[in-house]
Amino acid sequence: MRSNINLIERREVADTKVKKILLTSVAFFAVVFLFAGSIIFYTFYLKNSLANLKTKELTIAEDIRHEGGKNNKKVKFLVIRERLSTIEKIKKMRKNINAKLEEIFDILASDIRVESIDATNEKIAIKVSSQNLSEIHSLLEEKLKQYPGKQVEIKRIDLSSFELDPHSHIYSLAIDFDFAKK
């Protein structure tokens, strides 16, 4: 037996240690319990919010059905938007023969008469006539050569015929313009 053992003291120490463990476990349990309670309460709150949102969603959807149904407002509006998009695409997609024809007519002098036109987007064939040889010369030597600078799509310009009517002294030319296919 050890002489310095105080049996009463040891019991008090043992009691204190047990009390500490007990208090710690109770505190830990209390924290966990409170935390679990808070989470459950929060989950309940979130589910309630979700239910409210779903109700609101249904209400607004019903309002849209009602508002959109007046004179088919919704459908008409959607058609308007869809049509605008299609119209824009068509405007970009369609070819413009007229612009090319106008450019060709611009390079013809006033005393050069157009006899015939046959135009598609890829090819324009014109037949012109004039009594003025210098104008025809200017057309062939200057204006037609300058034309590709103005019209980037032009691929080829052909003079397919050149005739003179000996009785009327009228010169006739047939000119073919080939454009690049887009």
Binding site: N71, V79, R83
Partner: protein
């Protein structure tokens, strides 16, 4: 044996409550807290999705409420005059005669290729329309005019392509001031089921307003 058991119980009975509390805490953590955290994450995602849908629906409702009936009708008529829902031959003819009158040209002949020819799809045995444009189908017309000059022939073609309904002049030929045109007039049937799939109805943008005013 019984004495040993009593000894152990007496020795460790002070630890019984803390251990029980600890085990109960672990049980609460694994069976309540962790599952609830998963549920919270899921519900918050659902809330986020629902909020987005409510915002979209609110935008759609606000857009619809901002439009008056008169406004919608006017815009609807405008777009349909540019791109009709069907082959509106009367409107096409009216447009052509109006443009002819403006450009000092007389309409001599008018031929319409009205019907699309249906053909069987070789692979599937289904019937499909023969002429299908990628953007919008078109009604092809051949037109003969008499003009006072070639300038008027081109002017007519130009003005027609800039009129409504939308058209494209495919070819122009003229001899002795008599012009022949091949013109395609565009139309597009309504496809309401495809349109109604849209989730949000936004107001017309500035670009769209401008397009509408340009018609």
């Amino acid at each position: 044996m019984e004495g040993l058991l009593r000894l152990y119980i007496r020795k460790y009975r002070s630890n019984f409550l803390p251990v029980s509390l600890f085990l109960l805490s672990l049980f609460i953590i694994y069976r309540i807290i962790f599952p609830q955290l998963t549920t919270i994450s899921r519900v918050r995602q659902d809330i986020s999705g629902a909020e987005a849908r409510v915002n979209d629906l609110s935008t759609s409702l606000a857009t619809l409420r901002s439009l008056t009936d008169a406004d919608i009708e006017e815009k609807f008529k405008k777009v349909n005059s540019a791109l009709p829902a069907n082959k509106d031959i009367v409107t096409i003819f009216t447009t052509m005669t109006s443009v002819a009158s403006d450009t000092d040209v007389e309409v001599e002949s008018f031929t319409i290729n009205v019907g699309d020819v249906y053909k069987k799809n070789k692979d599937q045995g289904e019937q499909v329309p023969a002429a299908v444009q990628t953007v919008a189908p078109a009604l092809d017309i051949q037109l003969g005019v008499e003009a006072s000059s070639y300038e008027n022939v081109v002017q007519f073609s130009n003005k027609l392509q800039n009129s409504l309904p939308l058209s494209e002049v495919k070819s122009v030929s003229a001899v002795n001031n008599n012009g022949q045109y091949k013109i395609s007039f565009f139309y597009k049937p309504y496809q309401v089921e495809d349109l109604e799939v849209q989730k949000v109805i936004q107001p017309l943008s500035a670009t769209e307003q401008k397009q509408l005013e340009g018609l």
